[in-house]
Amino acid sequence: MTPILLSPGDIAIASVLILLDGVLSIVLRLGLHWQLGIAAGRMAVQLVLVGFILRAVFAIGSPWLTLLVVLVMVAIAGREVAARPEQRLRNFGNYAVGASAVAAATFLTAMLALTTAIRPHPWYDPHYAIPLVGIVLGSVLNGGSLALDSLLGGVVRERAAVEAQLALGVSYMRAMRGLIRVSVRRGLLPTINQMAAAGIITLPGIMTGQILAGMDPLEAAKYQILLMFLLSGGSGLAAVAVVYLAAWRLTDERQRLRLDRLGAKHR
């Protein structure tokens, strides 16, 4: 079975639905029609651009170019993880923590998939590496940002509880244990929800795409299962890395709680 290719006309017909939304917005005075139009236009331009870029990258097939694309994606995701929390580690700490955690979690999971389960030739084939990194990044970003926000917000709220333990001679890591546990848990919940809902409440995006592109549903399901494992592994690693890196930055050689290294988001 070959995929059914879409013509620009097919897409134009579907865009009638966006126009319908716009009409609704005007009739119901939601004031959303401009935002809706801009968002839809922006989405279409972004995706077409990415399509062209990927087509070029795939055609060139250079490992260095692939690495560059991956690094740009990781850097943007790391920035997003850093930007989410209300609290900021000084000296660009959020960026350092976000970028290193995202990079480590993504590379580990993507490498595992590329060298064991999927095994394209060569292993860095951008057809596989880039989409795989992309989907893992989405999950890693989600888990990492929730965990970081939970830890930084929690440590400010629970300052008295942590310092009371330190004052009684409890080690810093021991005093932070409750917060660390809650924050890693927070980072893992979306993936658990996603896995629990997969197939019953939602047909996951990858599987839908592959079925539409003509793949056998059972084969598509196997791919989806593999990806779910990768996503949960990635977000778990990211949550743990973010939480420990941030916790280390909030202490010093005398195991103090250094909230002076934390500041509220500007603006």
Binding site: E158, R159, A161, Q165, L166, L168, G169, L257, R258
Partner: protein
């Protein structure tokens, strides 16, 4: 007390950008009271001794320098008890180890607290009950120096008297206490020496008053 014995706690040139420098020696069994306006640096002083805030300068416990202790070991023996300290479990009981729990059960009636408080949730405690339980929690660690920040700030006269009795008994066993208090009367009752914190510096109270 022979002069060959080092003081229980000795502080030399203790300072940070926020307060100090401080110099003080406290002997075993001695209570030093510190009074002063809010924000004058009393809590900062105690927190620096316990090494909870960044600081420079030297502190010795029984002649052994602070740098020779790990931070947790130092804080267990030179124990800072905050005016409103935190609780990290929902219930009171898990804040005490098994041995500490036996100690707590003997202490609770001495501080005028109902014994079943130890088996309830922290949320149900009043401020004054939390303050007394925090003192028990601190003393259960058998520190050599107690840095008591407003130990009776939330208590009525009767409860204050009970806390003072307990602290006096501890002094008799050789603990040293540096106590921050708002009450000059309490400073006079418990303190062997009395200092005034003003503008983040420490002076003897009689000189400062003159």
């Amino acid at each position: 007390m022979s002069s060959a014995n080092p003081p229980r706690l000795r502080i030399a040139g203790l300072h940070s950008p926020l307060a100090g420098p401080f110099d003080l020696s406290v002997d075993a069994g001695e209570c030093v009271a510190v009074t002063g306006a809010s924000g004058s640096g009393k809590s900062l002083f105690l927190r620096m001794i316990a090494d909870l805030d960044p600081n420079d300068g030297k502190v010795w416990l029984d002649g052994r320098e602070r740098a020779a202790f790990t931070a947790p070991a130092w804080r267990r023996q030179v124990l800072y008890n905050a005016a409103e300290t935190g609780w990290w479990h929902d219930d009171v009981a898990p804040h005490f180890h098994a041995a500490a729990m036996d100690f707590a059960r003997t202490m609770v009636p001495l501080l005028g607290l109902p014994p079943d408080l130890l088996d309830g949730p922290v949320l149900r405690l009043s401020t004054g009950e939390r303050q007394r339980l925090a003192l028990i929690r601190a003393l259960a660690h058998a520190p050599k120096v107690l840095l008591a920040d407003e130990p009776t700030g939330a208590l009525d006269e009767a409860a204050t008297a009970m806390v003072e009795t307990i602290l006096r008994e501890r002094l008799a066993t050789g603990i040293a206490i540096i106590m921050v208090t708002h009450s000059p009367e309490q400073a006079a009752r418990l303190g062997h020496r009395h200092f005034l914190m003003r503008d983040r510096h420490l002076r003897p109270a009689d000189v400062a008053a003159a």
